[in-house]
């Protein structure tokens, strides 16, 4: 068994090697490498498969009770400062390794179908592999610096992948936004890390926790400072896990290809924040201020995410806000001390949300055959409807995911979400109320999404919907439609004909009238992901919590039979009943509004315009940030430039000019005999040397 631990470093290194080989090939022999489609994808997928097999072996060994294993190499040193890097395999790592490799493996298979016609197919696999490597490096990190390193690397991969279709303006803006927003979080993480190192002289998670506790007890470090450092570190997860107020990048990140949204922006990278909170748990748990900030951040995020998701028409944006909301649940769980619950929800969410995103990709793939390769049409749910008839596998798996996320037993999401909500109830009833209402909203918007996509009548050929979408798009681009402006309809028609022309130029094939089910390479991962989405929750039931027996906070002892003995059925039924109840209310509302059409959603929206606009405009976060930060930083930079140009440069130049004029050397420049001047300077200096040497 030791051998697999000694070779565990292969898990991140194998995908890295794959990415390097493809990357070098693309840079050196771009055209030739791009042609090698299936060899590249088979190569990358098999490397990831090998990493997955190793991960399962490690997981099994850990489950059997193997000791945690750590191996370190000294990485940097200066004087008596030493910094080691390496890998550590414990329960948490083993679990994360399995989650990441399985999702990555399935997403890579799916990619073959989804990206089949894309010219950047090979490049996409190289990026995917690079990302897998960075993410796996992150989860095996034994100390905070290594986490920071891979934290930034996954951020870079996310940047590259969001901007994968680099000729789309929206993608270009989104990838920069994602990177910069994440840098704000990394800024906090770095400062927190430095602060903790300054206080404790260590980057090891448990050592930091112990020493920090001692320092606070002995009074050498004030509790406020410790809380400040903890909150700064938490700023990292706030950005990476899309928590309010740094969540704005995640919805925009949907500009990337859908497999990426599933892998990075739903299952793995965004969950890295939760993973870091789990790793830093020994530090956080003793600082109550930090814990309550974490818990409230999660709560607010869960609520805001859910409320925005209600009004989204873009299927991927809707799922993105739902991801944000679910991440809020995980962070909330962590914040109230539910280490196990948070990680449990991370695991179940990784599977069902990856599946939901892949389903949406399958839907988009099908829609593109009807409406063309324009994300504005292919992703808009108003143009979908009735797809269950055309793509049954996608519809069934999407329904399973919807049931799982809505918290309907026995699907996976029920068990994990219920555990979090139960813990929150014990910690703070106010917080519980928000979490409980959010659960209802979640069920509502997910079923709204399911019904408008898969049930009812297919609206893909509906020109009025199409025009409506185009109009909204133009409005978003800032074209005013007020009186005096040109006829909006004219614009629409113009844009549309443009669009049609563009499509003919690039694709030039005829669109079918009905969408089709996706190829097997895309539906197979969906079916495989449906299995854990249904069943994985059963490992963590409150009466037999195998999950908690495996994953629990370091330093705590968990006895499953004892916990099962404490299990109170009536209490469980009450808590579970109330959360299932509100979910059912949400589902019923969705049925009435989007399936039976007995209630008109537009009428409700018209009755509460303020709230509707708040949700529709994403609580105005983007507008405020754009005006304050984006424009503000540009203005500041321009002002500093003015100062630099006029004041700093001016003053120094003036001083220089005075010297010049008095020396009358200016004429040499006018004659263009500048070299001559240089020689004079040189000779003068030499003369000065000799002169000063003699005297």
């Amino acid at each position: 068994m030791e051998a697999i631990y000694e070779y565990a470093w292969l898990i991140p290194v194998l995908p890295l090697a794959g990415a390097m080989i493809l990357g070098l090939g693309l840079i050196s022999f771009g055209k030739a490498t791009s042609q090698l489609r299936s060899p590249s994808s088979i190569f990358i997928v098999s490397l990831c498969g090998a990493a997955m097999v190793l991960s399962f072996a490690l997981f099994w060994s850990q489950y059997q009770g193997h000791e945690p294993y750590t191996r370190m190499v000294e990485w940097a040193s200066a004087g008596d400062f030493h910094l080691s890097m390496g890998y550590t395999i414990d329960h948490l790592t083993a679990l994360m390794l399995v989650i990441v490799t399985t999702v990555a493996f399935l997403v890579m298979i799916y990619t073959d179908g989804y990206m089949a016609h894309d010219p950047g197919y090979v490049r996409f696999y190289a990026y995917l592999s690079l990302f897998s490597s960075s993410m796996l490096g992150l989860v095996v990190s034994p100390n905070l610096v290594q986490v920071y390193i891979f934290w930034e690397l996954v951020g870079m991969c996310s940047y590259l992948l969001i901007g994968f279709w680099y000729d789309r303006k929206a993608a270009a803006d989104a990838c920069q936004k994602a990177f910069v927003t994440n840098r704000v979080g990394d800024f906090g993480l770095l400062l927190g890390m430095l602060g903790l190192y300054w206080a404790t002289r260590s980057f090891e998670f448990d050592v930091i926790g112990d020493r920090l506790q001692q320092l606070i007890e002995s009074g050498a470090l004030s509790g406020a400072m410790a809380a400040l450092f903890a909150v700064l570190v938490f700023l990292g997860p706030v950005a990476k896990s899309a928590q309010v107020p740094l969540h704005v990048w995640l919805p925009d990140a949907m500009e990337g290809p859908t497999p990426i949204s599933a892998l990075i922006h739903a299952a793995t990278m965004v969950a890295a924040g939760v993973f870091l909170i789990a790793r830093m748990f020994p530090v956080f748990e003793d600082i109550p201020t930090a814990m309550s900030i974490i818990a409230w951040t999660g709560t607010v995020t869960a609520f805001i995410g859910a409320t925005i998701a209600i009004t989204q028409n873009d299927i991927k944006k809707g799922l993105a806000y739902s991801t944000m909301s679910q991440l809020g649940y995980m962070v909330m769980g962590m914040g109230v001390g539910g280490y196990t619950a948070g990680m449990f929800h991370l695991m179940t969410h990784a599977y069902f949300k990856a599946m939901l995103f892949l389903c949406s990709g399958s839907v988009i793939h099908g829609m593109e055959g009807v409406v063309g390769h324009d994300p504005a049409y292919a992703q808009d749910m108003r143009m979908m409807g009735g797809l269950r008839k055309f793509m049954p596998i996608t519809a069934i798996t999407f329904l399973i995911g919807t049931l799982a996320i809505s918290g309907i037993p026995p699907f996976a999401g029920f068990w994990s979400k219920d555990e979090i909500i139960g813990l929150v109830y014990e910690a703070n009833p106010m917080m519980w109320l928000v979490a409980w209402i959010t659960a209802g909203i979640t069920a509502f918007y997910m079923f709204r999404m399911y019904f408008s996509t898969f049930e009812g009548r297919f609206r893909g050929a509906d020109t009025s919907v199409r025009n409506q979408i185009k109009l909204e798009q133009l409005q978003e681009m800032g074209l005013s439609m007020g009186p005096g402006a040109m006829n909006p309809h004219e614009l629409t028609m113009e844009a549309e004909s443009d669009h049609a022309k563009g499509d003919h130029n690039t694709h030039g094939h005829h669109y079918s009238t009905s969408p089709h089910e996706s190829p097997i390479s895309m539906t197979l991962p969906l079916i495989l992901l449906a299995v854990p989405s249904i069943l994985v929750g059963l490992v963590g039931t409150p009466f037999a919590n195998y999950f908690e027996a495996f994953i629990h906070p370091p330093g705590e002892v968990f006895d499953m039979t004892e916990a099962a003995a404490h299990f109170d059925l009536s209490e469980f039924l009450l808590m579970a009943g109330s959360s299932v109840g509100i979910s059912l209310i949400g589902i019923t509302l969705a049925v009435m509004m989007y399936l039976r059409k007995t209630i008109d959603p537009a009428a409700i929206a018209a009755r509460i315009p303020a709230l509707y606009q708040l949700s529709k405009n994403k609580w105005y976060f983007d507008d405020i940030y754009y005006n304050v930060f984006v424009l503000g930083s540009r203005r500041l930079a321009r002002q500093v430039l003015e100062v630099d140009y006029k004041v700093v440069d001016g003053v120094v130049n003036l001083a220089g000019l005075v010297t010049l004029l008095t020396g009358e050397v200016l004429k040499y420049f006018e004659n263009g005999r500048a070299q001559f001047y240089a020689l004079i300077v040189f000779a003068a200096v030499l003369g000065l040397v000799i002169f000063s040497g003699i005297t």
Binding site: L26, I27, S28, G30, W75, A76, S77, A78, G79, D80, F81, V145, I149, E152, L153, M156, Y159, Y166, D167, R168, K169, A172, D173, Q176, F179, V180, R183, D186, F187, L190, L191, L194, G195, Y197, W198, S633, L636, A637, V640, L641, D644, V648, D649, V651, V652, N653, G656, T659, L660, F669, A674, Q675, A678, V681, F682, V685, L686, V689, G693, I694
Partner: protein, 534 residues
């Protein structure tokens, strides 16, 4: 490990001697000259690697490969060359970057003889600056390197080249006067007159004298590094110079300033450094934030990168001011790393300019489709510049950050403010670099390029960039491999500087009478100096 062969003299003089042959080379089409110069550069690089590998002891903090010859005995001027842990990596950097820049200037068709003659002369001067251990010789080498740069900018530069070149020469020449005055003052101080830098370092100057000399030197080196507000020559010079010259300007010349500050201000004027270090730290922060903001506002590609250099060199200042082994090690690493990264970025912008014939970001756009390889290389270099882990810039900046945060010489409040503000640079750096990439490569192709054939990178161009990127990634993946070659020296300098702290504080200067208590090393009871220095 002594040797009788004069390695350093050979290395320093080879390019200069070789350059003298260029006028007589038979060369009709300007093609022999470039092969000849490249060969000289490569031979010199090989000699340097060989000499350091076999005759340099990485575990020895003292000067090695020392050579002393009396040059002008009447003046007391000696030809003294030696290297130690601080100069050795910089000699390697200078040689690598200069050789690559000659390969980068492959397509210079206007006066190739003069171009390569100057490049080789500059090659010698740079290595001379880093090796000279006689302060007059150092000064001569410093001046010798200015003239070729001046001519290279004023002949092969952009439209405003004369203005830029003049500004460059004026700034640096005025700075040089300060060096000369300071050098002479130090040499004649006390009883014995000497120009030897080691002996100068051992002289016992009065504190007031040290402070004056320190101030003079920091102005001179502050122009070179550059330190705010003496930086305004740099965007003009970098912006107007052709790509090979910008590579050397950003890659090597700025490092001469950092090198000289460590060599003279920290090593020789240790007592004054105690008083100036907080100022250096503050200037470092100003450099980082100010440089990044101005860079963000620039619309010209090369000027944007020039200001990014200003920003990155701020970390060198912070590291020098940190009084820790780690900080100083980080400062040296940051110099090397920035030398490689800036050279790569300037080279790539030259490659782009050759195709687009514009440096204005507004006129570019959508280049990624026709130039995917340039796009990829540009992205890698920008990522290195924004301190992405796995590349050298990250290691340098992280070392500076940790070094400064753990410094015992400052109060917690001062450290907090400095680290906080310089970390703001971490947010600003991706803003200007990524928006640069976005405006150049992303989006739809700019209509101005319709009909212009935009060729992707040629093998030579990929090769030059790869030669710079490989060490960047190598250092980033395993920094210890590189830092251990100079670690003993930075440890020595840092501990020497801290030793001085205790002695300085015992003889307080009248100016700062508040300083009452000796700030002992890593003690908790130390008094505070102006609320900044502990």
């Amino acid at each position: 490990m002594s040797t009788n062969f004069p390695w350093l003299t050979t290395i320093t003089l080879l390019p200069l001697v070789a350059s003298l042959l260029i006028p007589v080379l038979p060369d009709k089409y300007g093609k022999t000259v470039r092969w000849y110069s490249l060969a000289v550069g490569l031979i010199d690089f090989a000699l340097i690697v060989y000499a350091f590998w076999y005759h340099y002891d990485f575990q020895n903090p003292d000067f090695q490969l020392v050579e002393t010859y009396a040059w002008l005995p009447q003046l007391g001027l000696n030809w003294t060359l030696a290297v130690d842990g601080i100069s050795m990596p910089l000699v390697l950097l200078a040689s690598l970057v200069t050789t690559l820049s000659m390969l980068a200037g492959w397509q210079v068709t206007y006066k190739p003889r003069l171009f390569y003659f100057l490049m080789l002369a500059m090659y010698s001067a740079q290595i001379g600056v880093f090796c000279a251990q006689d302060i007059l010789l150092f000064f001569l080498m410093w001046e010798l390197e200015l003239v070729p740069v001046y001519i290279l900018i004023s002949i092969w530069g952009g439209p405003k080249r004369l203005y830029a070149a003049t500004k460059f020469i004026l700034y640096t020449a005025i700075g040089s006067i300060f060096i000369l005055v300071a050098a002479l003052a130090m040499a004649f101080y006390g009883g014995n007159v000497t120009f030897d830098m080691r002996e100068l370092g051992m002289k016992d100057y009065s504190l007031t004298f040290e402070l004056l000399v320190y101030a003079a030197l920091i102005i001179a080196y502050g122009v070179k590094l550059p330190i705010f507000p003496l930086h305004t020559w740099l965007p003009d010079a970098h912006g107007e110079a052709s790509a090979p010259v910008s590579m050397i300007l950003a890659g090597v010349l700025l490092k001469m300033g950092g090198y000289a500050i460590i060599r003279m201000n920290v090593e020789m004027l240790t007592d004054a450094h105690f008083y100036f270090a907080p100022v250096l730290a503050i200037l470092g922060v100003v450099n980082i934030v100010y440089g990044a903001l101005v860079s963000f506002a620039q619309r010209n590609l090369k000027r944007r990168m020039a200001y990014s250099s200003v920003s990155h060199m701020g970390f060198v200042l912070l590291g020098i001011a940190s009084y820790t082994e780690l900080g100083l090690s980080g400062a040296v690493l940051q110099m090397i790393s920035h030398g490689l990264i800036a050279a790569a970025l300037f080279y790539l912008s030259g490659v782009t300019y050759e195709r687009t014939h514009t440096l204005m970001l507004d006129k570019m756009g959508g280049l990624g489709r026709s130039m995917p390889t340039v796009f990829a290389l540009f992205t890698i270099a920008s990522m290195a510049s924004l301190a992405l882990p796995g590349m050298s810039g990250f290691v340098g900046e992280l070392a500076v950050f940790i070094g400064f945060a753990t410094s015992d010489s400052y109060t917690s409040a001062f450290k907090l403010v400095v680290v906080l503000l310089s970390a703001v640079g971490l947010i600003l750096t991706p803003m200007y670099l990524l928006s640069m990439l976005r405006e150049m490569f992303y989006g739809k192709e700019n209509t101005e390029f319709r009909g212009v054939p935009l060729l992707d990178a040629r093998p030579r161009e990929v090769f030059v960039t790869a030669c710079l990127l490989i060490p960047i990634i190598g250092i980033g993946l395993y920094p210890k491999l590189f830092t251990q070659t100079y670690d003993v020296k930075t440890v020595q300098v840092a501990s020497h500087a801290r030793m001085a702290v205790s002695t300085v504080a015992q003889q307080p200067l009248q100016l700062f009478s508040e300083v009452s208590q000796a700030p002992a090393l890593n003690s908790v009871t130390s008094g505070e100096f102006l609320g900044i220095v502990k």
